[in-house]
């Protein structure tokens, strides 16, 4: 297999700082761009990552400087996979209320988990709820809600 088609991987433990966490995705986006992923996939992956890393640092680790976040990313020509693990107590993603409900539609907050689930093709949490694994499949962008 030619070198430029080989899988790209990154594994890094970062402090609980959103600025550092946010910048890390640039490396994945560069690897995906090198493999000719379409712009819509890049945008969706970057946004889902941003939501997940902020959740891990802010809600998981509660910005505790003594805690770290483990970020693992990989991509090849067809799939990009991101796993983010924080050192918090975890949460139950099924218990997050739907921000699209009439009562919550105009209430700020609570849209990160929804966006991750809609932007990525596969999303899984571990039992404890402190680790998310999300997968983007090249070119497979399901229509957004309300779009025919």
């Amino acid at each position: 297999m030619p070198a430029d088609n080989a899988a790209w991987t990154l594994r890094r433990e970062i402090p609980s700082e959103t600025t550092i966490g946010s910048e890390l995705v640039e490396e994945l986006i560069a690897a995906m761009t090198e493999r000719d992923w379409p712009p819509a996939d890049l945008f969706r992956t970057q946004l889902a990552y941003q939501e997940a890393i902020v959740n891990a640092i802010r809600h998981g680790n509660r910005c505790d400087p003594n805690k770290t976040v483990l970020v693992e990313m990989s991509c090849d020509d067809d799939r990009a996979v991101i796993t983010i693990t924080d050192q918090g107590d975890g949460f139950d993603p099924t218990a997050v209320p739907d921000p699209r409900s009439d009562e919550l539609l105009e209430v700020p907050g609570g849209r990160g988990v929804l966006l991750i689930g809609e932007l990525m093709n596969e999303v899984a949490y571990n039992d404890r709820g402190n680790q998310i694994t999300m997968t983007k499949i090249k070119g497979e962008n399901p229509p957004s809600d309300g779009n025919e």
Binding site: T18, T19, S22, A40, F43, R44, Q46, L47, Q50, E51, V54, R58, P99, R100, L105, E106, V107, P108, G109, R111, G112, L114, L115, E118, L119, S144, D145, G146, N147
Partner: protein
């Protein structure tokens, strides 16, 4: 309290319309979203709003908005409405439209497409068989 400084938001009054244009390519981090929101909120005091017909958030230069950005847009929408004016989103690109659709915020925001999308839509309407 909003922390000290960074990119300023481009804000102008155009014939009783407050036109607001973020100067960043994304409204993604909580910090930048708060800065943006604070810049606009300064112009939404009761006295200032009494001279406004509407508020336009021009997103032509913005490529994507995260949930942190959405939170601030919702906040500004509420502020504008409480002050008795209305808020529109202008120049919304496909990526941001996706996010508004997914979150169903299209139901509360008055959204206008970016100019090139409007143009391509018009072309499609004129020639539906074109790919």
């Amino acid at each position: 309290m909003v922390p000290s400084r960074r990119e300023k938001t481009d804000i102008r009054l155009d014939d009783s319309v407050l036109v607001v244009a973020p100067t960043t390519k994304s409204i993604s981090t909580r910090k930048h979203a708060k800065y943006f929101s604070a810049d606009v909120a300064e112009h939404l005091t009761p006295t200032a709003v009494s001279r406004l017909r509407r508020v336009v958030i021009d997103l032509s230069g913005v490529q994507w908005v995260s949930s942190a950005g959405l939170n601030e847009l919702i906040h500004l929408h509420s502020l504008a409405r409480s002050a008795g004016t209305e808020m529109h989103l202008l120049g919304v690109c496909e990526a941001i439209r996706d996010v508004l659709r997914i979150t169903r915020l299209e139901r509360i925001f008055d959204v206008e497409l970016s100019s090139w999308e409007s143009a391509s839509r018009s072309a499609e309407e004129l020639n539906p068989s074109a790919s």
